[in-house]
Symmetry: C2
Subunit: 373 residues, 2 copies
């Protein structure tokens, strides 16, 4: 049951397809052209994107009332019998509202090329096969996963700028400063380096807090001997890069030192496993096997990494194989993080993260920072 058109409602997907970076919008991707629906705030910006393109390729449609009404009107006007929707992003409420509006405009089944559709159930009858709305997943995401040359160039520049900041982490994370103060220094440095925003809330987790993989910075002051996890990222020309180093104030030693060595070895093994044809779960398995050998399997409670792009977490997921989760072989152009960690209450935590581009022959580590600072 093929669709005539794809309704794109996920904003990063809209940005990828059209360049439009507003906070609201909708795209209907037809066979030969693309409708970009925006409200009055964005009409000028959207038209500026469309004007250099061949006539009609990107048609900007101002939304007078609601987005869903504009979408339903376009479905009728363009004679769309089967509209694919992004099931991973469209809410149940919006699905129901859209189905009702389309059904109101099309009480009889819509036609394509003059032939009636064979499915005569009304649009609001159910999911995913009833009526004109078809649930799809990962249509645009699969395309986004493989970066083109311009995107790779942006990643190289962004990773170089983030690495320059990371090499100065030792000057920022010093005894006496609070976690929050160190996080502010890192975020200030990202802004000055040309990042438009942090890609996520900067993590500075010192001493006992380092054993929490997703701690928020507190007013705790860093102390000599603390293992301190510093995880930060920025958005550069729309693309997200992400980097973690763990420092131990006063030098790596004692029980945390054992964690540093094991996590560094696990990260190296995972990076060595990255290449075209490797499944993300195999990359995860390479890191996990090293940590298990060190008796730290239980201490590694998260996945090894995630895709990077217009979003900080995008496909592919680099983790244990899971039912109903894609695990397609990596292709050249995919950019992922490699970030194993080990967290032991009472001792602390260590995570080491770099950003890696899959190449034709293996991979290129985009970030360039010593493992131990």
């Amino acid at each position: 049951m093929p669709a005539d058109a794809l309704l794109v409602t996920h904003l990063p997907n809209i940005r990828y397809l059209t360049g439009f970076a507003g906070t609201a919008g909708a795209v209907i991707l037809l066979q030969q052209r693309c409708l970009l629906m925006v409200d009055s705030r964005y009409v000028t910006a959207a038209r500026a994107l469309a004007s250099p393109l061949p006539d009609g390729l990107l048609a900007v449609e101002p939304v007078a009332n609601s987005y869903d009404e504009a979408i339903a009107q376009a479905v009728t006007r363009e004679g769309i019998a089967r509209l694919a929707i992004e099931a991973a992003h469209l809410t149940v409420a919006r699905f129901n509202a859209l189905a009702a509006l389309i059904h109101r405009n099309n009480p009889r089944p819509a036609t394509t090329n003059g032939r009636p559709t064979t499915d005569e159930r009304p649009a609001h009858d159910g999911l995913p096969t009833a009526g004109v709305l078809l649930a799809t997943e990962r249509v645009v995401e699969r395309v986004r996963m493989v970066k083109d040359a311009a995107e790779v160039a942006t990643f190289r520049e962004a990773a170089s700028r983030l690495s320059a900041i990371a090499r100065r982490l030792g000057e920022m994370a010093v005894p006496g400063r609070t976690e929050r103060e160190v996080a502010d220094l890192i975020e200030d440095a990202m802004r000055r380096a040309g990042f438009s925003h942090p890609a996520f809330d900067t993590i500075v987790a010192s001493g006992p807090n380092s054993a929490l993989p997703h701690a928020s910075p507190t007013d705790r002051r860093l102390q000599s001997g603390d293992p301190t996890v510093l995880d930060f990222g920025g958005v550069y020309s729309g693309y997200c890069v992400d980097l973690t180093r763990t420092v131990q104030l006063g030098g790596i030693s004692g029980e945390p030192g054992r964690l540093f060595a094991a996590v560094a070895e696990a990260q190296k093994a995972a990076i060595a496993a990255v290449g075209p044809g490797a499944r993300p779960s195999q990359v995860d398995g390479a890191a996990r096997a090293v940590l298990e050998r060190h008796g730290l399997g239980e201490a590694f409670g998260h996945g090894t990494g995630h895709g990077l792009g217009l979003e900080i977490h995008e496909d592919p997921r680099v983790g244990r194989p899971m039912a109903n989760q894609p695990d397609d072989p990596l292709e050249p152009g995919v950019v992922i993080t490699i970030e194993p960690g080990a967290y032991v209450p009472g001792i602390g935590g260590v995570r080491i993260e770099d950003d890696v581009l899959v190449t034709a022959n293996g991979c290129e580590v985009l970030t360039d920072v010593p493992t131990f600072l």
Copy 2:
């Protein structure tokens, strides 16, 4: 068809109900207690929230595999025959996955109090009446809309801190600085004032850019005579405040001066219309009537305001009445922005925004900044 339980998946709603502020989680609200499901990253933090409460009131359930599997297991274990879901937040993909998991665990209809349910259609058959999942909207949001005394105290403190920054906008927005530099100064000031993050991307829109209501800061340098819209907000103890002033560099004069006067008058009229029993659309209408009288109806393309709380945009929506959009009378304890604007290409734009608490007798303007800086 009442529900036995409510599945809460929207993170701000989870935070409101339980205090849990992680980046993933799920809550099932039963008649007498609450299940909080979190993954391994958050178990320690979640248990710390539960331990001061009466035994069993907030039960923390660690999620071993996926959230949806944990939810489906709880549905079986707790004998939930009808589970309400948050249709405005749950995606179609997740609805379908949950319905399939629940159906797999309960091939025959679930029972409540030993009596079989009357609806024998399987859970994955459709929306919103089929099987165990019931679409609901705004259940927690309606409760969140009315702030309690502790929330009001947080708002007063946050608005006071944001106002202190706004009173210094005239020193920050000076000729020669770029829009981006001014935005950085504002965001630095918010951090130093105790805000954990900006509540949204700061807007600094100067000269021609001021005519775009949602411009992003550029490298354009501010010039004498420019109307410049400065719209910024911060998150303080979890709560969002939001403020806009427009300055004209070198003094308000010329054609922009006419916009300043009209928008200030519209804002005053809207604030005067705020009180218990007033409908949000009436507040919007008060601002709109003033701008229409000045011939600026077309120049005011957005709504007059929005609710504030754990989210920067929450209920109520303060705009023109729209079909299928709630417009319930305001109650004491509701906090909204009042932010009319007028945008005229070739002249520029003006927006003025304050945060207002509905009180028993009218309203209290929480922000405290001169209209003209």
